[in-house]
């Protein structure tokens, strides 16, 4: 009946990591002024390609690498279509999700039921055996620590480096950036590829660590949550991380509440993260002052260089 807070915290971190990875990638993409709604598609492609390669080679590291490459390749399709052929970003992103879901089912057909090689967990003698802190902080897979490091890196690059400044400038006003001589399309393409790789890693975290096996459509909307998180976090890496852990926490708690037999309908619990996403989005967008101001001004707009 009782819920163990220590395992809850550990589960929270595991549940949050995939959406955190995808969201931080999408944050970079949107900061560059591109709206890629294909996160779900890139995640599931990452999940299947990571899983397939890990099963084939027996190496989780190669699996994660393959997931990043798979996600980035799918993102490349989006990048070429939107940046060179100037297709509509929303429609292309949605199509990318549908394409990713379909393609992953096709690829995954032959490997469903296989067992991936176990991903090593951190084991620091002393620290990992500590009560409470040990299981919560020091006994996760390397990917969990990588995701946190990535958030910090993205934050630092955007805030302190010239590269980050140029990226933000491109997302803010692509015409001005172009007039100053920055390669808008090249910068955006790099951001799109980065976003795809991150989403791929997030997807692979599902199929290789969290579940771990391959089932069709296993990302189950995590990509959409990641997209919502970017808005929820008002395009700030720290807040996106906070949001990811919040939603991961609700997912983990919801499972435990069901297991504990609390008399709340299962459906209601299962939909709670999505409901909260909607509520938060409504609250964010109703106050049009500060939160809206941080949105990249050129988000989703087509850039056409006119010389």
């Amino acid at each position: 009946m009782a819920i163990d807070p220590v395992t809850l915290m550990a589960a929270l971190i595991v549940a949050s990591t995939p959406i955190l990875l995808a969201a931080i990638g999408e944050l970079v993409v949107e900061k560059a002024g591109v709206l890629n709604l294909g996160v779900e598609g890139m995640m599931i492609i990452g999940a299947v390609s990571g899983f397939a390669i890990a099963v084939q080679t027996g190496s989780p590291t190669l699996g994660f690498l393959a997931a990043a490459v798979g996600g980035a390749l799918l993102a490349l399709i989006f990048g070429v279509l939107t940046q060179f052929f100037l297709s509509n970003q929303v429609a292309t992103g949605l199509a990318l999700t549908l394409f990713g879901l379909g393609l992953s089912s096709l690829i995954g057909e032959s490997i469903s039921g296989a067992t991936p090689p176990p991903v090593a967990r951190l084991n620091i003698p002393g620290l990992s055996e500590m009560p409470v802190l040990g299981p919560i902080l020091f006994s996760h897979t390397a990917m969990v620590y990588f995701s946190v490091a990535l958030v910090i890196a993205v934050w630092a690059v955007l805030k302190f480096t010239h590269v980050g400044l140029v990226l933000r400038a491109v997302g803010e006003n692509h015409d001005a950036a172009h007039a100053l001589g920055y390669k808008v399309i090249r910068i955006r393409l790099m951001a799109i590829l980065f976003g795809g790789a991150c989403a791929g890693l997030g997807g692979a975290f599902f199929s290789m660590v969290r579940v771990p096996q391959w089932t069709e459509g296993m990302t189950a909307g995590a990509g959409w949550i990641a997209l919502a998180l970017v808005v929820f976090g008002s395009w700030k890496p720290g807040r996106v991380m906070l949001g990811a852990y919040l939603f991961g926490g609700i997912t983990a708690l919801q499972l435990r509440l069901q297991a504990a037999g609390i008399a709340i309908p299962v459906e209601l619990l299962a939909m709670s993260p999505y409901l909260i996403t909607i509520i938060v989005l409504v609250i964010m967008s109703s106050g049009k002052s500060r939160a809206a101001l941080n949105a990249p001004a050129a988000l989703g707009k087509v850039f056409h260089a006119t010389g």
């Binding site: 933000r168 400038a169 049009k288 941080n294």
Partner: protein, 510 residues
């Protein structure tokens, strides 16, 4: 002589599909010279400047910079050679601060702290105060321009290109700018000054090159050439000044009182206690620098932003709560500033665009069905009456040049016989002859007894057409004064928001 010139341009040619933007353009700029580049819109000034700044590659021809061949492939190359450019618009990032904006325009930006120190240093040296930590979105147009100028100055340019720098400045800000430019020129920096404001060029520049339809049609010394002569060179014909024979006013037909509106977007300007009285036959000019609430005011007058019913009245009838279509039916018509996307739907044809605002007043529908025949006839009438240059009424609005589309948009409203016409920036980006036509049309409308409100940043235009003048500053209107006898100095004070002080001083004097 070519070895002493800073930049010599030798028969540069650049063609775009259907138009030769620059045809064998050649001239020289000497070190420390303020060189004017004059021309109508579409004369090829922008293309020429973009080639010098490395944004566009010429089809043929060459340039020499300080005696060495110069062919920049990108702005970065131009900047490292010593060419800097202050853009007319779209080169600043509103959500970034001043220091970040400046860093983006530099080759090797120093550390943020050093940069902030240098910004302060240079801005003080040239009398252009600027706080490096402020968001550009919160700055006035004049301050934004300072950001651009300082961005250029930090790189010690040998040639500074300025594209229409005064179009958004108050007369006082123009004075400050000219002071800075003269100082730079005295220090040996050459300035290529692009404008179509002839009086400015006469006070500032040493040499002028005039472009027309992509060709150099003449050079002159602006200090000794009259504005009228330069205008003739630019346009290729002499221009008639718009005039009206009868300027009597009737009753107050349109009244705005105590109008306050919150802006729709975070960088907008709130309107505060706006009061306007417009008489039949009157042209009221509302001056002001961009971003002081012009768009918000037009939206409130057109009905896009509904207000309290009593805040806007037509013939003493409260109409503040009504929407644009109802107001059109009542005879209040508007021509907003943004032609593509606000005044006209860019991808729709002129016929369709004619229908969009003229449906009611011209009865272009029957029982809910559109009467395309009558609509086409109306569009053709507008095209003919206002000399809109287009192959036909089925062309998309987007395909027309700015001046022609503006003639169409204004003509479409005027031919609906409005009681009140409100236009925002009616001749912005329109060449001189089309601008003269539009101004004449506005005067003719007033002569027929309609009230006209002209919102504009072009003070010369307002002095030319308006009977009464008022200034919009941070969402507030100054007192209305007759245009006759207004000096530029008074206008400058009104625009700067010092009108109350001025009135108080006058009152004290009396």
């Amino acid at each position: 002589m070519s070895d002493t010139a800073l930049l010599s341009i030798n028969s540069l040619t650049k063609a775009y599909p259907g138009v030769v933007a620059n045809d064998s353009v050649a001239f020289k700029i000497q070190p420390g010279e303020v060189h004017a580049l004059l021309g109508e819109n579409g004369a090829g000034k922008s293309t020429l400047v973009k080639m010098i700044y490395g944004l566009v590659r010429p089809d043929s021809g060459s340039m020499d910079f300080m005696g060495a061949p110069y062919a920049p492939t990108e702005p970065r190359a131009a900047r490292s050679t010593g060419v800097a450019m202050v853009f007319q618009h779209f080169s600043l990032f509103e959500a970034l601060n001043v220091a970040e904006n400046i860093a983006l325009g530099m080759e090797n930006p120093p550390k943020p702290r050093d940069l902030a120190a240098r910004i302060t240093e240079v801005s003080e040296a040239y009398g252009l105060p600027l706080d490096p930590d402020r968001l550009v979105g919160d700055l006035s147009a004049g301050e934004r321009q300072r950001v651009e100028i300082i961005r250029c100055l930090l790189q010690d340019p040998k040639l500074l290109i300025m594209d229409e720098p005064t179009s958004v400045l108050t007369p006082q800000e123009v004075e400050i700018l000219f002071h800075t430019l003269r100082k730079l020129s005295a220090e040996g920096t050459a300035i290529l000054y692009i404008s179509h404001k002839l009086e400015e060029i006469r006070t500032l520049c040493d040499e002028a090159t005039v472009l027309r339809l992509g060709k150099v049609v003449g050079t002159c010394d602006p200090k000794t050439t009259s504005a009228a002569e330069m205008a003739e060179l630019m346009v290729g014909k002499s221009l008639a000044t718009p005039a009206r024979t009868d300027a009597s006013h009737g009753e107050v037909i349109f009244k705005v009182s105590g109008l306050s509106v919150e802006p729709a977007n975070p960088f907008g300007t709130p309107l505060r206690h706006i009061g306007i009285e417009l008489r039949a036959g009157e042209v009221l000019g509302i001056g002001g620098v961009a971003g002081n609430g012009q768009d918000e005011l037009l939206a409130a007058l057109s009905g896009e932003t509904p207000t309290a019913p009593g805040a806007v009245t037509l013939m003493k009838e409260p109409i503040g709560h009504t929407g644009p279509n109802e107001r059109r039916q009542m005879g209040i018509l508007c021509g907003p500033e943004e032609r593509l996307g606000h005044a006209a739907a860019p991808d729709m044809s002129l016929v369709e665009n004619a229908l969009l605002t003229a449906r009611h007043r011209k009865s272009l529908d029957r029982n809910g069905f559109l009467d395309w025949k009558a609509t086409r006839k109306y569009a053709e009438d507008v095209i003919e009456t206002y000399d809109v240059r287009t192959p036909g009424p089925d062309n998309a609005a987007r395909s027309l040049s700015g001046g022609n589309l503006q003639k169409f948009v204004i003509g479409r409203e005027i031919m609906q016989d409005p009681k009140v016409l409100v236009v925002n920036q009616p001749t912005w980006g329109v060449d001189a002859s089309a601008a003269a036509d539009i101004r004449q049309a506005i005067l003719n409308l007033a002569q027929q007894g309609a009230g006209v409100i002209v919102i504009s940043q072009d003070l010369d235009e307002l002095l030319e057409v308006a009977d009464n003048f008022t200034a919009l500053n941070e969402g507030r209107l100054s007192n209305t004064r007759p245009t006759n006898g207004l000096t530029m100095e008074t206008i400058g004070l009104m625009l700067g928001g010092a009108h109350d002080m001025h009135d108080a001083a006058e009152a004290a004097h009396v």
